[in-house]
């Protein structure tokens, strides 16, 4: 039984060390995992993996998973899942390609329209979950299949049989918004650094890293934004409350249904965002794109400390979880190991992360 005597409580104040405080951070597990994985590759991988060019090389896929993972983590903290994320990447990519190639719309219209379509589907997902009270797992599983199938049917119907839509690069070339969503940024800076010999260059003097892939910038910005919303806005408090106990939250005046719907929309928009950047980078929309990404995003969120039961987690954690993903995915090619160890790795990390999270949560809430 706990004591309410002031003296005894004062003693407990002293007892809580910095370590104990740190242990309560949801990100801690992810950070530990990150250091372990980092050390592993430092020891086993070719040294070029952690050069500037090498790092950017594994940061790019990390950013793609990461943008999805941030959306997924917000939704998970809010107590729901979205398994249709991966299919949404394919579907939204297709919508985007259709808009820019077939209708020839400029990016300034095509991008908001694509996000709008994705957001609308996210809203439908959310409304079905809220109105029926069915688990979001089942509802979005239905959308996982439906959207993937729809993408395949649509793309084959438009292209007359292939599963890819080409011509995006040509269509968006020269559009003033294109550099914000595809390619590298800070190219000039990198060139300048290379001229002074501060970063590695090829023999002809061009830098090995030509710039920072723009997704990485977006990834950082979205992480910061999500973190701000979570810890410093009333809406963030509502997300935790809705996921922690929807009933208690609603009784306290939190608009739980609105919060959950908005989270479904945000998640879908994150997926559409990834779709737009990948379609522009690849120049094509592919109906198989985003396969299994829903699970990778959820895994990154869980590694980052999100609880499957909701109400707990962090965007920074999901950020670190995504970095682990990128590092393992690309890092294995720098080692002598078979690339397919990747999935074994991810499975192992996930299991350890869940066990660790469970322990941390019990400590944080004083469950015994």
């Amino acid at each position: 039984m706990s004591e309410t005597n002031a003296n005894i409580l004062d003693e407990r104040v002293k007892k809580e060390s910095a370590l104990a405080r740190m242990l309560k951070r949801p990100e801690l597990g992810a950070l530990g995992g990150f250091i372990l994985v980092f050390l592993f590759f430092l020891l086993t991988a070719d040294s070029s993996m952690f050069t500037l060019a090498g790092t950017l090389n594994w940061l790019q896929p990390a950013a793609q998973i990461g943008i999805l993972a941030i959306g997924a983590s917000l939704l998970m903290i809010g107590g729901e899942f979205d398994l249709s994320l991966g299919s949404m990447v394919a579907f939204a990519g297709l919508v985007f390609a259709l808009l820019v190639v077939n209708t020839g719309l400029p990016l300034i219209i095509a991008i908001p329209l694509t996000l709008l379509v994705a957001g609308a589907i996210g809203m439908i997902n959310g409304q079905i979950v809220i109105r029926t009270g069915l688990p979001s797992f089942i509802v979005t599983l239905a959308f996982l299949y439906a959207l993937r199938g729809l993408s395949l049917v649509l793309v084959k119907w438009i292209t007359g049989g292939t599963t890819q839509m080409r011509g995006v690069r040509e269509a968006v070339e020269g559009d003033f918004l294109a550099p914000i969503f595809s390619g590298d940024v800070f190219g000039g800076l990198f060139l300048w650094l290379a001229e002074r010999g501060w970063i590695a260059t090829f023999a002809n003097g061009t830098p090995k890293a030509t710039g920072i892939p723009v997704e990485i910038i977006w990834f950082v910005v979205i992480t910061l934004l999500a973190t701000y919303v979570l810890v410093r806005t009333p809406f963030g408090n509502w997300i935790f409350a809705a996921g922690g106990d929807a009933n208690a939250a609603a009784n306290s005046g939190v608009p739980v249904k609105l919060v959950k719907t908005v989270l479904f929309i945000i998640t879908a928009i994150c997926a559409a965002f990834v779709a737009i950047t990948t379609v522009m980078d690849a120049g094509t929309a592919d109906s198989s794109r985003g396969l299994l990404k829903e699970f990778e995003a959820i895994i990154a969120a869980v590694i980052g400390g999100c609880l499957l039961t909701g109400g707990y987690g962090s965007a920074v954690g999901a950020f670190i979880g995504s970095l682990i993903f990128g590092m393992v995915l690309i890092g294995l090619t720098y080692t002598g190991f078979d690339q397919d160890w990747y999935k074994v790795f991810v499975g192992g990390i996930l299991l350890v992360a869940v066990l660790f999270n469970n322990y941390v949560r019990k400590r944080a809430t004083g469950e015994r």
């Binding site: 809580e16 408090n237 939250a249 306290s252 005046g253 809430t365």
Partner: protein
């Protein structure tokens, strides 16, 4: 003489052909603790839900500060100053005390897109409110899950008081607590009462009621069996009224006065 904050006259509530409340009268003055006693099924829950705006009475009137009121939702009642702490406490164990304290009513600072949750102010207000209730938190970021049942009850009460409750309805706050925590909650009730809040304390434990109650109303089968002031009634009489008299009297002998 002061006026009651809430005065309920002849309240009836029917659910279809079930008569849950068959004419209940009840009032609460500022700074008093009015205990509402009754056994399971006596209509206590229906009654407090009527008072807190969840149910609309089928018959009867509710006066709030001498004006007739028609609460359409718990929100209305809350805004008027009637706060209810239900048994589930509306607390989220994984969230910090501060986040729970201000859940749904977060203070903000800044304007437009820079409007943000004023965490510093919320933390201070929480620590201060809890100190007033005699609980020293380890920190405002301490998770509610690490608090004891009694402390959680106190957080819920402190929250209601902080947000300007004039009447505080406590739905069996001591029913799941141990001895020491019960005494903490009773002490909290006493503190709140001294701040001028009217406390409606629902319980079926006569001893808890006698410890803090100023007046006692017993509910049985949807009716009030009368209201008695402190000192006008013995615990045994209360017990008898709650149980409906007879059966209890016959049991009394064999149990030797243990209940």
């Amino acid at each position: 003489m002061t006026q009651p904050i809430v005065h309920m006259e002849n309240i009836e509530k029917h659910f279809g052909n079930i008569i849950a409340l068959a004419g209940v009268s009840f009032d609460i003055f500022p700074g008093e603790c009015h205990c509402l006693l009754g056994d399971n099924g006596a209509g206590k829950s229906t009654f407090i839900k009527t008072m807190s705006g969840v149910h609309k009475p089928t018959k009867g009137t509710i006066n709030f500060e001498q004006k007739q009121m028609n609460f359409n939702s718990p929100r209305d009642a809350m805004e008027a100053g009637i706060a209810t702490v239900f048994q589930d406490l509306a607390m989220i164990p994984l969230m910090s005390v501060t986040r729970n304290f201000f859940m749904g009513r977060e203070p903000t600072k800044g304007v437009g897109p820079f409007k943000r949750f004023d965490v510093e102010m919320a933390n201070e207000a929480t620590m201060e409110s809890m100190r007033e209730m005699g609980i020293n938190l380890r920190g405002p970021d301490q998770a509610v899950g690490t608090l004891s049942g009694g402390e959680r009850q106190t957080v819920a009460i402190a929250r209601a008081v902080y947000f300007g409750a004039k009447v505080l309805i406590l739905d069996e706050p001591t029913s799941a607590l141990g001895v020491r925590q019960t005494s903490n909650v009773l002490a909290t009730i006493d503190r709140v009462r001294k701040q001028g809040v009217g406390v409606v304390f629902i319980t079926h434990n006569v001893r808890h009621a006698m410890a803090v109650g100023d007046r006692f109303t017993v509910l049985n089968r949807g009716r009030t069996l009368g209201t008695a002031a402190r000192g006008d009634i013995t615990p045994e009489e209360l017990q008898d009224m709650m149980a409906g008299g007879q059966e209890m009297a016959s049991l009394e002998g064999s149990l030797g006065g243990t209940v």
